[in-house]
């Protein structure tokens, strides 16, 4: 029993799906904070064929009252049971326009591509002419259950996505946390599914008649259901008590009606990131 549950960086910002950091009991009035910078390589938007590299600011803060900020998400741990985590959750969903994903605290200002797209690719941009999907603050909650101190089932429900603010997303996952891979090296793995309602799919993968006229994409009206599945691997290397290198690989495959959208060029895309973070 009681394997050392060093879960601190099981989730750090940069992940596509909102995942809550594990509950972190600490003295009253204290906080645990990571701030860092790195690089991420990800598809321009969900389903894009081309990827781009961006600067990746890293931020994770947890306070003794249970409030946390983790990348683009914030919430509050309300449970006092170490086997259960739940609470409210908000997430900033980034704007999507014909330049791809951007906005929010993930660094739209720092966004740039180190791989020059060919002009043919630019002409083939399937988002060109599509109505941009505005930045939205999603609201909902999370519920996580620990099968053991190292295995966690996760669930996040967030609503308010899309221009109509009526998109709802449910992320379900399982995580193996904090496997010791040598002194100061920890690896965690995760797998999960994303389920959405029809409004969500139509906001991000649908093509209205007006969008069709402007973009040349065929009209597409997807329904809700399974949107994607992913596998993730995170490696944390604690260089000193204060400095950490955190790296993340995630492969996500679009599914259901989202996968068959005319906006989707490639249904399976990897996201790779690495960042160095300082623990305050």
């Amino acid at each position: 029993m009681n394997k050392f549950p060093a879960l601190a960086l099981a989730v750090l910002s940069g992940s596509a799906a909102a995942q809550t950091p594990a509950t972190n009991p600490m003295p009253d009035g204290s906080r645990d904070m990571y701030v860092g910078l790195g690089l991420v390589s990800a598809a321009r938007y969900e389903g894009a064929r081309h990827s781009e590299r961006k600067a990746l600011p890293v931020l994770q803060v947890q306070w003794s009252n249970g409030v946390f900020v983790s990348g683009m998400s914030a919430g509050m741990h309300l449970s006092r049971d170490p086997r259960l985590e739940y609470g409210p959750l908000v997430e900033l969903q980034r704007r999507r326009d014909d330049a791809g994903l951007g906005g929010g605290i993930d660094g739209v200002q720092a966004r740039y591509s180190v791989v020059s797209l060919l002009s043919a690719d630019v002409r083939d941009n399937r988002l060109s002419g599509m109505t941009p999907v505005a930045t939205r603050l999603l609201g909902g909650g999370f519920l996580n259950y620990y099968l053991t101190p190292d295995w966690r089932l996760t669930g996040n429900l967030l609503a308010g996505a899309g221009n109509g603010r009526d998109g709802v997303r449910l992320d379900l996952g399982v995580q193996r946390l904090a496997m010791q891979a040598g002194p100061h090296h920890q690896v965690s793995v995760a797998a999960g599914l994303g389920l959405v309602n029809a409004a969500y799919n139509r906001a991000f993968f649908g093509v209205s008649e007006l969008d069709s006229l402007r973009s040349g994409n065929p009209v597409y009206r997807p329904d809700g259901g399974l949107k994607d599945a992913y596998l993730g691997l995170r490696w944390n290397w604690a260089l000193t008590p204060s400095w950490m290198l955190t790296s993340h690989l995630q492969v996500k495959r679009l599914a259901g009606d989202a996968r068959h959208s005319p906006l989707v060029e490639r249904p399976t895309n990897p996201t790779v990131s690495t960042a160095i973070a300082y623990r305050f």
Binding site: M1, A6, A8, M26, P27, L39, Y146, T240, P241, L245
Partner: protein
């Protein structure tokens, strides 16, 4: 140089510098905050626990490394506390806000090598070495209650007994089971680990397995290092 390559090169240079700096202390520290996170669970547990002890145990990652004479030091920017380790590498863990806030670390005093720390729960030893079976069962139940609180997978486990762990230099180990009818039974020592997962599996141990609501006493002539609950 393109901005992205410049950024990547800067990150790599920073990482190299930090890695070189970390090498001097490689693998000989553990974050106080991470240890605190593991240890505070017992403090927050509201169930019965008066028969239990809770320690932080230092466990070398390399087998065969002795912790004899080694001291654990809690060191931050402003505070330094020496924590004496017992023969099992355990120490009482101080829950200090100041150490948490300054992101202190736990260092081993000498023989630096890779180590990890684990929270360990055991039963309180008795000064006279006489343990009622009912008392041992109650202590084990308290430990199981805490284990179930911390780990949902422990729900199906039951208390099977306790393991008395002795020092190698304890001399002849004499533990006997004394029944009300006067029938005494010697409990044979066997080499084993103190706690599950410990790298040292050669300590003298004596296992007393519970037999229902048996009325008996376990009498130990030697002071045990630990009395470890066994869940089966």
């Amino acid at each position: 140089m393109p901005p992205a390559r410049h950024l990547a090169a800067s990150c790599l240079l920073t990482l190299s510098a930090l890695g070189a700096g970390a090498g001097a202390h490689a693998a000989d520290w553990v974050s106080y905050r991470d240890a605190y996170r593991a240890m505070v669970v017992f403090e927050k547990y509201g169930g019965p626990k008066h028969q239990l002890q809770h320690h932080l145990q230092v466990v070398p990652l390399e087998k065969g490394v002795s912790l004899e004479g080694v001291q654990l030091t809690l060191a931050g920017k402003a505070n330094q506390v020496n924590l004496a380790l017992d023969a099992l590498g355990r120490t009482a863990f101080p829950l200090l806000k100041a150490a948490y806030d300054e992101n202190a670390a736990l260092y081993l005093g000498r023989k630096p090598g890779a180590f990890t720390v684990r929270p360990r729960v055991s039963l309180q030893p008795q000064a006279d070495g006489v343990y009622d079976a009912a008392q041992l069962r109650a202590g084990c139940q308290q430990a199981l209650g805490f284990a179930r609180y911390a780990d949902a997978s422990m729900g199906a486990r039951e208390c099977g007994g306790v393991r008395f762990v002795f020092a190698r230099r304890a001399g002849d180990i004499a533990v006997r089971l004394h029944r009300p009818d006067g029938a005494d039974q010697a409990l044979a020592p066997l080499p084993g680990p103190a706690f599950q997962g410990d790298p040292d599996e050669g300590l003298p141990t004596v296992v007393y397995r519970f037999a229902g609501a048996e009325r008996a006493q376990v009498i130990s002539a030697n002071v045990p290092l630990a009395i470890v609950p066994l869940f089966e």
